[in-house]
Chain length 139, copies 3
Amino acid sequence: MKSYRKELWFEVPTRRALLNITPTIVDCLRESGIREGLALVNAMHITASVFINDDEPGLHQDYDRWLEHLAPHEPTSQYLHNLTGEDNADAHMKRQIMGREVVVAITAGKLDFGPWEQIFYGEFDGRRRKRVLVKIIGE
Amino acid sequence: MKSYRKELWFEVPTRRALLNITPTIVDCLRESGIREGLALVNAMHITASVFINDDEPGLHQDYDRWLEHLAPHEPTSQYLHNLTGEDNADAHMKRQIMGREVVVAITAGKLDFGPWEQIFYGEFDGRRRKRVLVKIIGE
Amino acid sequence: MKSYRKELWFEVPTRRALLNITPTIVDCLRESGIREGLALVNAMHITASVFINDDEPGLHQDYDRWLEHLAPHEPTSQYLHNLTGEDNADAHMKRQIMGREVVVAITAGKLDFGPWEQIFYGEFDGRRRKRVLVKIIGE
């Protein structure tokens, strides 16, 4: 069994953003030399997500509005977590809906994807350096 | 390390439905010959889910109502994504709540499940052919 | 490839609670002797979650309120599932938002975590014995 590990660093200048990280994961896979196995890609921070969906800007705005509707940032006083001095409780909620991680099949040296699958980093509390972990195991 | 891959095809005649695919995954596992490892089962489309829950028809209707409440299909004009000519933005939301994938432990040649765990394909934008990927790695 | 399996048992005295199970998972990892690979930790019951987030009591109260807002327990008659004699339909919803499972990278014999990542068992229908499965594969 081979295993590969890499940390990806992001510093998103806004509070929230969705970044397509598929090309970077493809680079990791090539670097790993693994042709059959599983890739785990996860946010290492608890106010961010890694998820798979469509790279369509309208949809990304829809996600942002929808997440704000389900877990609004304001008023920040509605969350007990924010009594710790944080203002990011909503980001902890948004991340649960969008998910921490994806596991992707590796087949014949490629991400084994359907036609529209793309991997996104979902930032919900940006403006600082945060990490994503890529771990690939297989042969 | 052994690895096994199979695509399952579905054509759901309605917009939304939940299908119990556990027997098919059991067949895949038997075909793989793998006795210890992990199975990844994921939707290859971004308006569908694979998830684990209970095979109880009342609960499935509850899920449908609840998802419609959290991410309504109508009015379709409320979503920017639908300006692309699609009418399925809500399906992209529903899939995030229900999840893209499950990872299941394989122990002694079986899906290592609790008493009520069953694997479902969750279709939120049906009436066309769509795929699920089964990838099993182990020994 | 090595593989390790353990069942963890919980009996939460209240209907809902979040338990930090990270130390137990660390013990499992040590017991497994696996240094490179993947760990799957999943609820074996369909009214409970395993998820990764912050160990902050205010946040945990926020999660409870927020999940109650998105999928209220009362009135229990609003859910068809509860016609089966259960009163836990809401727990099946809450578990979908918080997720069934986490997959964690194992690197150099450790859980490969960011600074605040902790693993929780999320109970949404407690007051009885329920299980979590730990499966670790690697070398």
